[in-house]
């Protein structure tokens, strides 16, 4: 099963409110990623977990948090949503330690902040 699951598929949030997005995979992948994609733009890496180590991109460091309570789950947390957070959020996973670098993507969560 090469499925990456994301919940919810659609999320409506109010400005200033927190948002929590969930991703899961059962492929025993050691690395999980979160990307943000806006219309007519390339997907942009926000952060990734390699095992239990979180790596956040420098330009999004303060805007997003994440947790990985176990190998299968990874969340993306926005403490106070702004209009600019409206986007598709894509989760992906891969098995890096065995050189299987193919990233498998979930269906995405479409976030709309009003």
């Amino acid at each position: 099963d090469t499925t990456v699951k994301q919940n919810p598929r659609y999320k409506l949030a109010r400005v200033g409110k927190p948002v929590n997005l969930i991703c899961s995979q059962t492929m025993n992948h050691d690395t999980m990623y979160w990307y943000q994609k806006k219309p007519n733009q390339a997907p942009k890496l926000l952060l990734f977990y390699y095992d239990k180590i979180l790596n956040r991109e420098a330009d999004t460091f303060e805007k997003f948090q994440s947790s990985r309570p176990n190998n299968s789950f990874c969340s993306l947390y926005i403490g106070s949503a702004g209009l600019e957070y409206s986007a598709m959020y894509l989760c992906a996973s891969s098995r890096v330690d065995r050189g299987q670098d193919t990233q498998y993507f979930g269906p995405g969560t479409r976030l709309l902040v009003l």
Partner: protein, 109 residues
Amino acid sequence: GDQVEQSPSALSLHEGTDSALRCNFTTTMRSVQWFRQNSRGSLISLFYLASGTKENGRLKSAFDSKERRYSTLHIRDAQLEDSGTYFCAADSGYNKLTFGKGTVLLVSP
């Protein structure tokens, strides 16, 4: 500047014709992946290449094994269902994908 330059940004094809998309990299890349975005916005993986070529049906992808600075996606005998947005994404060696800006492909009868 952008590490991944994808071209063309838009492409119109007639059914049955062939064409190619290209991604140039400003630095040496370890691997490349090609995706198609479906109507719901999800990314469907087409190919992963660390070198050489791969083929799947009417699609074929190549990654320059020598200098590792470009990749191509060839579409043979284009069909209506091939329409969509295609992305390349490259890994410079830190397992972080950098995406191109995409190619919007429209196949018409």
